[in-house]
């Protein structure tokens, strides 16, 4: 299957997020690798996804799961070779699957040769590649992101006897983007991978590239200038490739990252995700509709990226204090489940393994405006291990079958990079791909089905949205439109059956056709359109005027 040549391919994409380490181990060393990932591409093609987002796979001391990069132009030996990656990339493209890789622009590992040179002497040519200071009092107005581990954004370097700036862990010094040489070098790094054929970058931690005294050092105009420069080079030299921003910000603060369609192609909609969970628990659409009402229009070529869960904690930075308390109390009663300002759990355990709620949340993910991202393992309802440190509890090996190591690796179990989930409910004997493939009504097959329906129309990826606001606040209803095509989406956020009347007068004369079963419903007339919804049920209706 050839790659779709549409330059707006990312608007129709369904992205699968995976770390190569977690997916499949081909050489029996207990760690997933590129040959292993390549071997599972058929599975991903069958699932129906159209792009893979790979988490960092570069050489790294792995003190932050690879986000502490020590060499930007190579593959960590744990995961294979550059040639292995190249081969994987070609195989993915052969299946019509694009590959988006991670690029950490903001910082490097303190083991990176650039930092080693920079700290070696105040006169080293790379001294100015990082942000150094004689005091730890500059940029006082800047918040600390990793509150659980860091007490300052400055760290003392005993070698060069000065402080260096870091927004994340202290072993991740920030690059100095005021230095043109740094900007040039980071573009060269991106070019290296683009020339190899990668289809896009997820640029990590982009709000923090530049520091200025008297500001909070986030979202500064100078940062946007740097990003625009990267985008310009990308469009000139590699048209059709894509930049995805990781910026955990409010929608209004995120909007500038799209520029006039000349900065990022996509950005994560961070505030929506916790509100989807909140709306479900409250059985009230208000949190969801309100945040989407506050979401500004973006340029036509741009797109939001939506997700339910990812490799990080379920971040609660973009909610009010009262909302955060509510989320903690309802989704993370045990403090072990909490990390920084978030909840380190996977989708299925967050939803009490309730199949109806898992389906409803995925239904909303696939039907709200944006490109959906499915986190590896969530398509089979994998669990987590809250007793593993940091965010490792949601980064355990993929569960392929009920055999040794869940089919992930042939290594001795104690050699695996992480223990598998083994509890009776979520453990690999109960939750695995092989078993779910064989069961017609498994979550995996349901996911394949809904992805197929989603991909059957461009309206979800590119259409407008119009909320209907029925008087029953437990019902979230909207119409997605693209040209003459219209899809009515009705979600029951409640655990109980609900009656709802929809004002569909604008669509009078249309016949609603339920998209999964293709069955007709009564024609829309002048009167409010009545529907009865089962607990957590949702419908997608294609509105046809015949």
């Amino acid at each position: 299957m050839p790659l779709n040549r549409d330059v707006l391919w990312y608007k129709d994409a369904i992205v699968y997020q995976v770390h190569v380490r977690t997916f499949h181990d081909s050489n029996g060393d207990g760690i997933g690798d590129f040959p292993g990932l390549e071997a599972k591409l058929d599975y991903l093609q069958e699932l129906g996804i159209s792009a893979i987002w790979l988490m960092p796979f570069f050489p790294s001391p792995l003190r932050d799961d690879g986000y502490d990069i020590a060499d930007h132009s190579a593959v960590h030996s744990n995961y294979g070779t550059l040639e292995d990656f190249r081969k994987f990339l070609g195989s993915a493209h052969d299946r019509g699957i694009r590959v988006i890789i991670e690029m950490v622009l903001n910082h490097t590992s303190d083991q990176h040769p650039w930092f080693q040179e920079s700290r070696s002497s105040q006169h080293n040519p790379r001294r100015d590649w990082y942000v150094w200071s004689d005091t730890d009092t500059r940029y006082k107005g800047t918040r600390i992101i990793f509150l659980d581990t860091e007490t300052s954004n400055w760290a003392w370097d005993p070698i060069s006897k000065s402080y260096y700036w870091h927004r994340f862990f202290s072993h991740q010094p920030d690059l100095n983007y005021d230095n043109p040489a740094v900007r040039e070098q980071m573009w060269n790094v991106m070019k290296f991978w683009l020339e190899m054929g990668v289809d896009g970058f997820r640029l990590d931690a982009v709000p923090y590239l530049v520091e200025r005294e008297g500001t909070n050092c986030e979202n500064l105009p100078e940062t946007h200038e740097i990003l625009k420069e990267l985008r310009r080079k990308l469009d000139e030299q590699f048209p059709g490739r894509m930049l995805l921003a990781e910026a955990n910000q409010w929608p209004a603060d995120l909007r500038p990252y799209f520029g006039d369609g000349d900065e990022f192609h996509m950005a994560f909609h961070f505030p929506l995700m916790p509100r989807m969970f909140m709306g479900l628990k409250l059985e009230d659409r208000k949190p969801i509709t309100e945040i989407l009402q506050q979401t500004p229009e973006i340029p036509p070529s741009c797109q939001w990226c939506l997700f339910l869960r990812n490799h990080d904690e379920l971040t609660l930075e973009m909610v009010t204090g009262m909302e955060r308390d509510y989320m903690y109390d309802t989704y993370a009663e045990s403090k072990t489940m909490r990390l920084n300002l978030g909840i380190r759990r996977r989708l299925a355990p967050l939803l009490d393994n309730d199949r109806r709620r898992i389906e409803l949340m995925n239904g909303m993910l696939m039907s709200l405006p944006g490109t959906p991202i499915v986190y590896y393992g969530d398509e089979i309802g994998m669990g987590d291990n809250i007793y593993l440190g940091d965010r490792n509890g949601v980064r355990t090996p993929m569960q392929w079958n009920g055999g040794t190591n869940g089919g992930f690796s042939t290594a001795a179990p104690e050699r695996l990079y992480s223990p598998l989930i083994q509890d009776p409910v979520y453990g690999y004997p109960a939750v695995n791909v092989l078993r779910q493939k064989a069961s017609e009504h498994s979550l995996l097959n349901w996911m394949r089905s809904i992805i197929t329906v989603r991909r059957s129309t461009g309206v979800f990826g590119r259409g407008s949205i119009e909320f209907l606001y029925p008087a029953n606040h437990r019902i979230l209803a909207y119409v997605r439109r693209l040209g003459n095509e219209a899809v009515l989406v009705v979600n029951n956020l409640s655990s109980t059956a609900q009656a709802v009347e929809l004002d569909l007068r604008r669509y009078k004369g249309n016949i609603p056709i339920e998209m999964s079963g293709k069955n007709m419903f009564p024609r829309v007339g002048d009167l409010p359109y009545p529907l009865t919804m089962g607990p957590y049920q949702f419908y997608w209706f294609r509105l046809r005027r015949i």
């Binding site: 909140m278 409250l282 059985e283 009230d284 659409r285 208000k286 949190p287 509709t289 309100e290 009402q293 506050q294 009010t320 009262m322 909302e323 509510y326 909320f467 606001y469 029925p470 008087a471 029953n472 606040h473 437990r474 409640s494 109980t496 609900q498 009656a499 009347e501």
Partner: protein
């Protein structure tokens, strides 16, 4: 056979949209536009502060207002159509309204609120007065928390009142319900009270709505039903209670709603109250009463005159209600001058008990019996005012307690009268 519902289809549709709730606030209204706006905003604040996570609804039962009262109530809804209404509210707060056609005092409002509570499966409910100008957001929590958190079924309020306010309550309703039903509830008939869903449902199913009383004073029946049903009852101190001037001018209708209701309840409740001796305090959060003492101008002279005139003009009525000795004593004090006039507690209690017994079985209509009590009550009020003219808060409380004990002491007299009327 199909029976017509007292709930309209439109109201049912609104209830369907609200769905199950944890908290229901009932607001009966009738032409309350002057006060209801600030009251619903206070209610909204009370919900957001006290119950930010709970599913809540404000239900307005309106008796046909023509001043826009229902619109003021529904205007405080918090939803995603009005995102600016309260950006900090965690969830939707519906404020819905329905109109009924009958007399606003008919009890339809409470019946509507109870029906809504049952249909919405509300766990804790509260009825708020549309006239309480000094309502505070905390009142919601004070009336609801004992139900929501502690499993009580009825929470009646206590207030900080002027010593000469609520005289019908202090001189009759409180002491008599206490003596008869055995529980010391300071405000057995209040426009504000909290109740559990289960008590509401139980009362909704009782045959009190079409029993000939027209539903008047049904709030008092509600309190009595909670006592006789052995539901868990407590009191909660709310704070200062404002005057409601217009009520004092219409004593007879008030007596019908309150005393008439109490008297009419005695017959069905006889097995309960006849077995009760003495009284027990109700669990109370905060003060069980606070008394304000600042000077208050009262037309005492007119009270005494109305008493004397009433005793003279209604002699034939009193002859069929009161015992000869009681009537003679009333006629004696009616002739006394202002300085000598004194309507003692014992005589007042005997008077009330004889009225109650007469209400049960008499040749005179029940309505006339209650009306005839009005001049006598005014005479008793005159004495209460005189006795407590210079009294401290403790003195006033002691006098009320003394009256209560008199009601309890003379209860056998009522039982004796009751049996003699069988």
């Amino acid at each position: 056979m199909a029976e017509e519902s007292f709930l309209t289809d439109d109201f049912l549709r609104q209830l369907i949209n609200v769905g199950e709730v944890d908290i229901l606030v009932g607001l009966p209204t009738h032409n309350n536009a002057k006060t209801v706006g600030s009251i619903v905003h206070t209610i909204q604040s009370g919900i957001l502060r006290g119950f930010p996570r709970e599913r809540a609804v404000i239900v307005n039962a309106d008796g046909g207002s023509r001043d826009g009262t229902p619109e003021l109530v529904t205007g405080v809804s918090i939803d995603d159509l009005r995102p600016a209404s309260n950006p900090y509210a965690l969830r939707t707060l519906h404020s819905i309204s329905t109109k009924y056609a009958s007399n606003p005092a008919s009890g339809v409002a409470l019946r509507t609120i109870l029906a809504a509570a049952e249909l919405l499966r509300a766990k804790a409910c509260v009825v708020m007065s549309p006239e309480s100008a000094n309502i505070e957001p905390e009142w919601l929590s004070k009336l609801l928390r004992p139900i929501y958190d502690d499993g009580f079924d009825l929470v009646t309020p206590t207030y900080r009142r002027h010593k000469f306010e609520g005289l019908l309550i202090t001189n009759l309703l409180y002491p008599m319900t206490r003596a008869l039903y055995g529980l010391r509830i300071r405000e057995p008939y209040s426009p504000e009270f909290g109740f559990s869903g289960r008590l509401g449902s139980q009362f909704l199913g009782q045959n009190v709505w079409n029993d000939g009383t027209g539903g008047a004073g049904v709030e008092l029946r509600f309190t009595l039903a909670a006592i006789t049903g052995k539901y868990r009852i407590c009191q909660s101190f709310l704070g200062e209670k404002d005057h409601i001037e217009r009520r004092s001018a219409d004593l007879v209708p008030v007596l019908r709603q309150t005393v008439g209701t109490l008297f009419s309840a005695l017959e069905p409740d006889f097995p309960v109250w006849s077995a009760v001796a003495g009284s027990q305090p109700a669990p109370t959060t905060g003060a069980d009463r606070e008394v304000l003492l600042e000077p208050l101008r009262v037309n005492r002279k007119r009270l005494r005159e109305m008493f004397s005139t009433g005793v003279a003009e209604l002699e034939s009525v009193f002859q069929s209600i009161l015992s000869p000795s009681t009537l003679a004593e009333l006629q004696r004090i009616a002739r006394l001058g202002e300085e000598e006039f004194h309507y003692p507690a014992e005589l007042w209690v005997r008077t009330v008990y004889e009225f109650a017994a007469s209400y049960r079985k008499s040749v005179i209509s029940r309505d006339h019996i209650v009306q005839a009590l009005a001049p006598l009550f005014r005479g008793r009020v005159f004495t209460f005012l005189m006795e407590n003219r210079n009294a401290s808060a403790d003195d006033v409380e002691n006098n009320i307690e003394g009256l209560c004990l008199e009601f309890e002491r003379l209860k056998p007299y009522l039982l004796q009268l009751w049996k003699s009327r069988e």
